[in-house]
């Protein structure tokens, strides 16, 4: 089953290449991932003159950036990408460069948001104290990071449920989880987590729960400036911090010395430890 999308991509790309070749002769060369190609305005000029080289990755990225402008009107769909391509002067069929259609657009957007958050967090931790104890995560950094990330969804809020539905598609699931993992890992690390035991996993799972529940809340929130969502976020982060403290308390009392102390006290109470009975 995994081969079928690839065949479709290959035939789609081949037909697009033929179509583009008839409009723009520069497309008759094969497009490889990072080989630069000439933009159509320079094709007829002498090679020694200045050429505007654009790689395929940059081209795709700029088309998707323009496509984001059309999401409020056309949703996370192939139509938005086609409009974005047209804005750059390419024909609408250039959306064939993106086999997952709306999924590719959504992933591009999510990756961009996550990169912005990472940069913001890295800037923050340069200012704060580096020797942070791994048993506390800074609640203020957590709250700010989550709020900032959720606010990035605000311009696309009307169609965000559609994006969330797209993440359930088999072609999108893997990248969805990769992006989520990177986001939660960055937020956890930069708010002070330096754990190297199983709590590395429990903390990230808990924060993932917080993020997902807030995302679900914000898409149906009608309050002014999403104030109810920020209150919801605060309550979830309080739960997270409390759970961490409870775990610490439990850990303090589940060690061998404590149990052997309990055992000895029990024996003393029963009089078993007395030398003379």
């Amino acid at each position: 089953m995994a081969h079928i999308p690839r065949m479709e991509t290959v035939t789609a790309l081949a037909s697009i290449r033929k179509l583009l070749a008839s409009y723009y002769p520069c497309f008759s060369r094969s497009l490889s991932t990072s080989r630069p190609f000439l933009s159509e305005s320079d094709h007829s000029h002498d090679k020694h003159e200045e050429e505007e080289m654009v790689t395929e990755e940059e081209l795709k990225s700029s088309i998707l950036d323009s496509a984001l402008n059309f999401v409020p009107s056309h949703g996370w769909s192939v139509k938005a990408i086609a409009k974005g391509a047209q804005q750059h002067g390419y024909p609408g069929v250039t959306h064939g460069l993106f086999p997952r259609g709306g999924g590719d657009l959504m992933h591009h957007f999510v990756r961009q948001c996550n990169n912005d958050i990472s940069k913001h967090l890295e800037g923050l931790s340069k200012d704060t104290d580096k020797s942070r104890n791994s048993s506390e995560l800074s609640p203020s950094i957590l709250r700010d990071a989550f709020q900032m990330r959720l606010r990035m969804l605000v311009p696309y809020m009307d169609h965000w449920p559609q994006a969330m539905a797209l993440t359930a598609l088999p072609t999108n699931i893997q990248e969805h989880f990769t992006n989520l993992y990177k986001l939660i890992d960055d937020i956890c690390y930069h708010s002070g987590d330096r754990s190297v035991d199983f709590s590395w996993y429990t903390r990230r799972l808990a924060l993932l729960g917080v993020y997902k529940s807030c995302e679900l809340h914000i898409v149906q929130d009608g309050s002014h400036d999403y104030q109810e969502t920020w209150d919801f976020l605060d309550r979830r982060l309080d739960d997270f911090t409390t759970a961490g403290k409870v775990k610490e308390d439990i850990d303090r009392f589940t060690n061998p010395e404590f149990f052997s102390a309990v055992y000895t006290v029990g024996r003393n109470i029963l009089g078993v430890n007395d030398q003379r009975r």
């Binding site: 890992d185 690390y189 330096r194 190297v196 035991d197 199983f198 590395w200 996993y201």
Partner: protein, 214 residues
């Protein structure tokens, strides 16, 4: 299989693909290595190396703890304590390196905690020689494994990974020193040495393979 089908269907790339998806096949067909670094970026390789080394040191820490719990008051008690202290130092080094490189610790840590202690205590119950034999088997597997990692890092880029390479080389030498200590203390006199050694080494290789991925 019909020769023409074979030619059409099984290309060299797909056989390599099968071997990459099933590293055990590759391991059996080539030299016995628990790890393979084909097609991995430097970051992913370091992530994997730190994860599995940390898991190994946690395991070793627990093994010595288990052995000491049984053999604390015997003649080898102080020796085991000394080896345990060195393992604790190794573990602390990796616990510092993991956040530094944003690596992920293994999810099987609780399992290795229990398994290590059980192995240590279980081998010590059969006597000092058995405990030393267990040490020898584990240190052999770990020494082989550190050598594989050093080889992988050198293949990738010895200059870039200089610090990590130095750490790995030092730890490998420490582990081999423990191996020699074990041999000096009558490890080979343990009952059923070959069987026990084989089982423990196979267990270590499985643990290494699992920790690299999980």
């Amino acid at each position: 299989m019909h020769p023409s089908l074979l030619a059409k269907g099984l290309s060299r790339t797909s056989i390599r693909g099968i071997c990459q998806r099933h590293p055990r096949l590759l391991a059996i067909s080539s030299y016995r290595s628990a790890s393979s670094s084909d097609g991995m970026t430097s970051d992913k390789l370091i992530d994997r190396i730190l994860r599995v080394d940390h898991a190994g040191e946690v395991g070793a820490d627990k093994i010595y703890e288990g052995q000491l719990a049984v053999l604390r008051n015997t003649s080898v008690g102080p020796l085991i304590q000394e080896m345990w202290d060195e393992e604790k130092e190794h573990r602390e080094t990796f616990e510092k390196l993991i956040p530094q490189h944003r690596a992920r610790p293994t999810a099987l840590l609780p399992l290795w905690n229990i398994a290590g202690f059980t192995l240590g205590a279980g081998s010590a119950i059969f006597g000092k020689e058995a405990a030393m034999a267990c040490t020898v088997a584990v240190e052999e597997a770990i020494g082989e494994h550190y050598n594989d990692q050093i080889r992988q890092l050198i293949e990738k880029d010895p200059e870039k990974h200089k610090d990590l390479l130095e750490i790995l080389k030092k730890f490998r030498d420490d582990e081999l020193h423990h191996l020699d200590t074990g041999l000096e203390n009558d490890a080979l006199k343990a009952p059923l040495y070959d069987t026990m050694s084989g089982i423990i080494k196979a267990g270590c290789r499985t643990a290494i393979w699992l920790s690299e991925r999980i």
